[in-house]
């Protein structure tokens, strides 16, 4: 008989691995991908596959050549970053811009900090914000959804529903008038609107949310706390003046709140470690998003909100410790 193996307990291990968790996220994103291809055709497919391929390639090259370590792309985290980056940009974005975004996401957003587990900011959002600031025109011309008929290079473009509202309010128009220029609520829920591939369909994203909860990939705290704080804060503004401020439902269904709350804010590496922390984090993101949407220069605020709260996470981790066992003890 060969030698026995000796190691400290425990001697069994659960089924979860980094790879299985990352691929569960990919599966959860498939409904949203399906919807975006349905509405935007080839463009969505091109953008998504280029983003994934470039993210994986850049991570592999950086690890192998620059860092001279064993490449770890098989763990799937670069694939997830690629998909999320693609979901944050218009479906007709030129290929070279996508590749640049992937380079910034992986190279700057992840690898400069030490690779998986060490980055303080969400890599996909770092890439997206970089692209938004560097290429404002390309990043804000959203293709009109025409199904498979939508061509990749020549699509007619326009502004997202939030963009239309923002410009309209700035021009002095009032909400009741502007609402006729944007899709109705059912369209918004299903996803028939202009926007990035990931923003479209709340329905598809919520399906993915359910799947991730079932597979125990994420907990419900961060998305629910973001939704709640968005509803409460925007709700207060809406009740005060419904002609100037959008309803909470509109806020939830447009822009990147669904995508951001469920997939971006819940990124493991950049979110807090305790339940209390997750609540504060979520509430902060919700409030900041609405502030930027209402008073900020951009029509969409969740990317910036998440990045800002990412910066607070180490502080949140230090101060919001879990309640300790036996703190309130009954006397014996």
């Amino acid at each position: 008989m060969k030698f026995l193996t000796v190691s400290p307990s425990p001697h069994v291990h659960g089924a979860a691995s980094v790879k299985s968790l990352m691929y569960d996220v990919v599966i959860a994103l498939l409904p949203a991908l399906g919807i975006s291809i349905y509405f935007f055709g080839v463009g969505a497919l091109v953008v998504t596959s280029i983003a994934i391929a470039s993210c994986v390639l850049f991570e592999y090259l950086i690890q192998k050549i620059l860092l001279r370590e064993e490449p770890s792309v098989s763990d799937g985290s670069a694939v997830v970053t690629g998909i999320l980056l693609a979901f944050n940009v218009p479906a007709n974005l030129p290929i070279w811009i996508i590749i640049l975004g992937a380079l910034v996401s992986i190279g700057v957003g992840k690898m400069t900090f030490g690779g998986l587990g060490n980055n303080p900011f969400n890599p996909a959002l770092v890439g997206r914000v970089f692209l938004l600031i560097s290429f404002p025109v390309q990043m804000t011309s959203w293709p009109v959804p025409k199904g498979f008929g939508t061509s990749y290079t020549d699509a007619t473009t326009g502004a997202t529903p939030l963009g239309i509202i923002k410009e309209g309010l700035l021009a002095g128009k009032e909400l009741p008038e502007l609402m006729s220029e944007v899709p109705g609520y059912l369209d918004l829920f299903v996803g028939y609107m202009k926007g990035s591939a990931g923003e479209l369909s709340a329905m598809a994203l919520l399906l993915g949310f359910g799947y991730m909860l079932y597979r125990k990939v994420i907990t419900w705290h961060i998305p629910i706390s973001i939704f709640l704080s968005v509803i409460v804060f925007s709700g207060i503004m809406w009740v005060v003046n419904p002609d100037q401020y959008l309803s909470p439902l509109f806020h939830l269904l447009t822009g990147g709140i669904m995508l951001g709350a469920i997939y971006m804010a819940t990124d493991y590496v950049t979110s807090p470690m305790t339940t209390k922390g997750k609540w504060i984090y979520g509430i902060g993101i919700g409030i900041l998003t609405i502030i930027i949407r209402i008073w900020g220069a951009y029509p969409e605020g969740i990317s910036f909100a998440i990045l800002i709260m990412n910066a607070f996470v180490p502080l949140i981790n230090s101060y919001l410790k879990p309640r300790r066992f036996g703190k309130e003890a009954s006397n014996g």
Binding site: K2, F3, L4, T5, V6, S7, P8
Partner: protein, 299 residues
Amino acid sequence: MSNIILYTILSLSALGVLAAIILYFVARKFKVYEDPRIDQVEEALPAANCGGCGFAGCRNFAEALVRHEDISAFYCPVGGNNTMSAVAKLLGKTPVENDPLVAVVRCNGAYSHRPRTNIYDGAASCAIESSLYTGESGCPFGCLGHGDCEVSCNFDALYMNPETGLPMVVDDKCTACGACVKACPRDIIELRKKNPKDRKVFVSCINQEKGAVAKKNCEVACIGCGKCVKICPFDAITLENNLAYIDPFKCRLCRKCVPECPTNAILEVNFPPRKEKNVAQETTMKVRTPENTDTDTNK
């Protein structure tokens, strides 16, 4: 355009001057008085901040040196006698003079001498393995090979030999600060007197089990037979708990004990080769794995 530049320069300079003035007064008000000799003593110390003196860094040591009248209990192993006499001169106190020391690894249980009997699959830390069980071989005192000592060394003086699984000390770099001694959970490393030409004679084993048990687990274990004790002309060797120990301060490096040892547990290092070759003296470097180790190792 030049107005803007002028105003910018003026306003920033004014801010700078204002800040400087405020800082000056604040620094004056909150200044902590320190004995100026502390800085001087700190300059004289090697600035390794290794903790070998027992204090929290060189500055902390300098403070203690200045504070205490009698510094005979204080010694910097990295700087040695030279540093201590320099410091003493600065302070007008009497230094202690110690023999220089060097770290010595008292285990020769390489893979070839001490076969594995099981496989350890836990975290790669000697402290963790040693708190779990006896180790991959039958010897409960031997080196575990994960390199806690190598990690603890601040002077690059210790590295793990991948062929033998044992740590090797680089005598030139070792400052005898004691970090590796503290790091080893089995107390295998000892600080012994440093001899000219880095010569060493020592018992390379700390196994206290009865001879037969120790020998079964490792070919070069000390079996506590006492032959070395009898042969030593300087009474430098003592036997306790089935283990022989050579006192480095009494040992005169005559090497009479080395060929006496039936298991070659006593090592002589950095000596010229003897006239008649003693083959068993060389530590064999053959790598053994569980697959190619058979149970009968005493060849």
